[in-house]
Symmetry: C2
Subunit: 312 residues, 2 copies
């Protein structure tokens, strides 16, 4: 297999694009494709200040790298959730993020220390809420809240995450299997700011397969944490990814078409507009972030004393 | 495992319903559930005249059987497509339909002989149209046209087909993978008559798993053709069924929830209404059935002399 641009041996072959590229031309193509997605979905402008949510994994570090190469003002945010124990998962992944930033003079990394700030790791909170084996929903709540808080408090225009096509296709697959109307109507590469305290969120890698972001980090020598979070084992999203990967194997391009045809059908008006004031957001009594909950938002409720009767 | 109603040994266990039943109570439940689906989706009334599309397979014969037990005026229609060759598929399946009707004094069976009426089997047509290996789309066109024609010409109010949950879930899965807006907006257990020449179509078995209709025919001693159509091998719908069955295996109820949540989301207004006059139907110049094609409908075009340049 030869590179389409120069004829050298190819480093990667992308069957769904009918495109093979060498180790020199692949990163160029990858950066161009990112710029194209940013433009196509009107994610942000050159003067916007971006905050990149960095987990220490390949997707988020590759995203930060590409955004810096494209000369955006892009700072990093690492959220230390305190997932430690034997694997020292948080410690290890933080080291990868720090090492990445240290090697780049233009990369500023902010670190939010959840146990330090709120007095407990998400593992402690999960235990207190009797969800010790399944802290994923708590993790999601904490990350969403803190990313938004840091972006708002520091005047960022946009929050960028490294979700790739495999992530987005698996999320869409789950939303479709259960026909979650609200999620289907909202799933998008760009979630606009709502003016009431939610910052704009974008996913510039939403059209890259996971193996494409992996190939980019490999070729560009970006060191990242290889392990999945120890709590991800058995997660439904992984089962969906496996199902989609099996279909992709017998029919290359399945994930890509599934996701991009969804975006096209949506843009062409397949879905009824969600009710105009459906979610009835108002500021949380404690932190001020928008919430549908009656008093405290989900995040702030996590830190309240557990009620003795709580059984989940 | 014991029957929930009488405690006798169970003949079938339905994990998604948390229900096991014996060979006496299962058919009762099956008939009741059919009556409930007919009512729930407002499929037809006791005074309607029904035409049941009968293929000789388990689903359509079980459907005819149940509709007769429920005292509907239900006649059968067998369409002989002339799929013969080594397996004599059409001949064998016709024998099953005839034997079923012969054993029941209240069952009238009409037979439409495609080669006799139109001068060619669908295999001949597929060969002429250079689709010899893939006659499925031609088969679909012929069956839809002839079912509608016979129903209209003989004054039936409703056309009933034996599609089961596995069929409907696989169709929905395919529609979702490609985000076929029109198909998603129209897929339903009831397609209303349009007044311009399309008879109402209903699928009373749409909530039964395939193994449930199989169990019914087994217990009720309904003899049917076991083989799949020889041309079905490798069909995409079979691949979708396999994917869904794998998910069903690890998470019982997946197909049921996928399909019924779709119907619920649709009833609650997830989709924008399809354009009111989108399909722009008008009568075919030859047969008079509604079509979107400019002159002759797809069915009538099949019997025109093939153009020499036609390459599909």
């Amino acid at each position: 297999m030869r590179c389409r641009k120069c004829g050298d041996p190819a480093a990667i072959n992308m069957r769904h694009h009918k495109l093979a590229l060498c180790a020199r031309h692949y990163p160029e193509w990858f950066v161009e494709q990112t710029a194209r997605a940013i433009h196509k979905y009107k994610m942000f402008d050159p003067e916007d200040r971006l905050l990149v949510a960095v987990s220490g994994g390949k997707d988020s570090l590759a995203l930060w790298d590409v955004l810096l190469k494209l000369d955006y003002h892009a700072d990093g945010l690492y959220i230390d959730l305190g997932i430690d124990g034997d694997l020292a998962y948080s410690t290890q992944s933080k080291h990868k993020a720090v090492a990445f930033a240290d090697a780049r003079p233009d990369a500023d990394l902010m670190i939010v220390d959840i146990p330090g700030l709120y007095g407990a790791s998400i593992i402690d909170v999960a235990r207190r809420r009797r969800r010790a084996n399944r802290p994923c929903s708590i993790c999601g709540t904490v990350k969403r809240h803190e990313m938004n808080r840091v972006a708002l408090e520091n005047g960022y225009d946009v929050l960028a995450t490294g979700h790739n096509l495999d992530d987005e296709a698996a999320t869409l697959f789950g939303n479709v299997l259960h026909w979650q109307s609200g999620y289907l109507q909202r799933q998008s590469p760009v979630l606009p700011a709502d003016g009431g305290g939610l910052v704009r969120k974008v996913k510039p890698f939403c059209r890259f397969y996971e193996r494409e972001t992996a190939a980019y980090t490999l070729i560009e020598n970006i060191d990242y944490i290889y392990d999945e979070c120890p709590f991800a084992t058995g997660a439904t999203s992984l089962a969906h990814k496996e199902t989609l990967s099996r279909m992709e194997h017998s029919s290359p391009g399945t994930k890509m078409h599934f996701y991009t045809n969804f975006l096209r059908a949506k843009a062409e008006g397949l879905f009824a507009a969600p009710d105009d004031a459906p979610r009835n957001l108002h500021p949380c009594a404690k932190c001020g972030q928008p919430t549908v909950a009656p008093d405290l938002c989900n995040f702030c409720r996590l830190w309240e004393p557990a009620e003795p009767s709580e059984s989940r």
